[in-house]
Symmetry: C2
Subunit: 146 residues, 2 copies
DNA sequence: CCGTTATTGACAGGACCCTGTCAATCTGTG
DNA sequence: CACAGATTGACAGGGTCCTGTCAATAACGG
């Protein structure tokens, strides 16, 4: 029924692989974060907060998420005692977020686990392949954005 | 703080591009489906149901989703009048799902739009690049699965 | 036939992400 | 200063996905 060109067919196959790998990455991220009492999303937020006192809106912009999404994640991190708020002298509305010792410890643990995981997997691929694929995907992303 | 090898660094870059492209694909899928009154997830379910009468559990296995997820999507498709149920002679529990004329029309519209979108984008890439990237990502997926 | 095991729909509950809206606050301009 | 426009946190509501649980039903082995 649907008329794909040859290249369209090949393109669809590539998109399928991307979706598949992305799914595997989400699982891997969750597995890396779990032993630290985190989830993938909470880990990402924690990592941004670690780079300095920021507001929720800034975190949202950094991660490319909606403000509300970050707000929810920050709420759960706060109730876990991993993030705390403090007065922002530059904006009465937007309190600054900072890591608690517990939050910092959890983040460090995940980061160590991630480095080990990444290096181990990367050792089983060739630099050439990695660079080639990255380049093609970058072009693809630009194509999709334009 | 975190110790990445050279290859680990390159590997991380590739993963970042994959996540980025995946995000763009989700947006594109939603945009393709919207004019037909669909979402990305509903489109996927509709496409599986189109291939023949199936049960919700079968759709879940086909798409690699949890039964409950498909159940919810089917419920919204049913309330939209795009999917209907019918008695399954082979299993008293599991009713078969079938497309209504409205569901079929919506699916056909999205499929036409998707083919046009795919072919247009694919025309701006080379077959070699597409095949190279697909191959590398397939290896990567296998690596992540094992 | 009968008991064990697997599958199914269904419900509860939660994580993650979005849009739309609103009032409070900030910022830039006249 | 005063006003217009942008930004922010907060709330409401919805979509998509998950795990865990349960009873009903199916499938299978003895």
């Amino acid at each position: 029924m649907v008329a794909f060109t040859d290249r369209g067919q090949e393109f669809s196959g590539l998109l399928g692989e991307i979706v598949r790998v992305n799914g595997l990455l989400l699982s891997a991220g969750a597995a890396l974060a779990r032993p630290a009492g985190l989830t993938g999303a909470r880990w990402q937020v924690l990592a941004v907060v670690d780079h300095g006192p920021v507001t929720a809106a800034q975190v949202a912009r950094t991660l490319g998420l909606a403000r509300q999404t970050v707000r929810e994640t920050v709420a759960s991190l706060t109730s876990l005692g991993m993030v705390s708020h403090r007065h922002n002298p530059r904006d009465r509305r937007a309190r600054q977020l900072v890591l608690t010792p517990r939050g910092r410890a959890a983040l460090r643990l995940v980061e160590r686990r991630q480095a080990a995981w990444t290096n181990q997997l990367a050792a089983r691929a060739t630099l050439t392949d990695l660079r080639t694929a990255t380049g093609i995907l970058r072009d693809l992303a630009d194509l999709l954005e334009g």
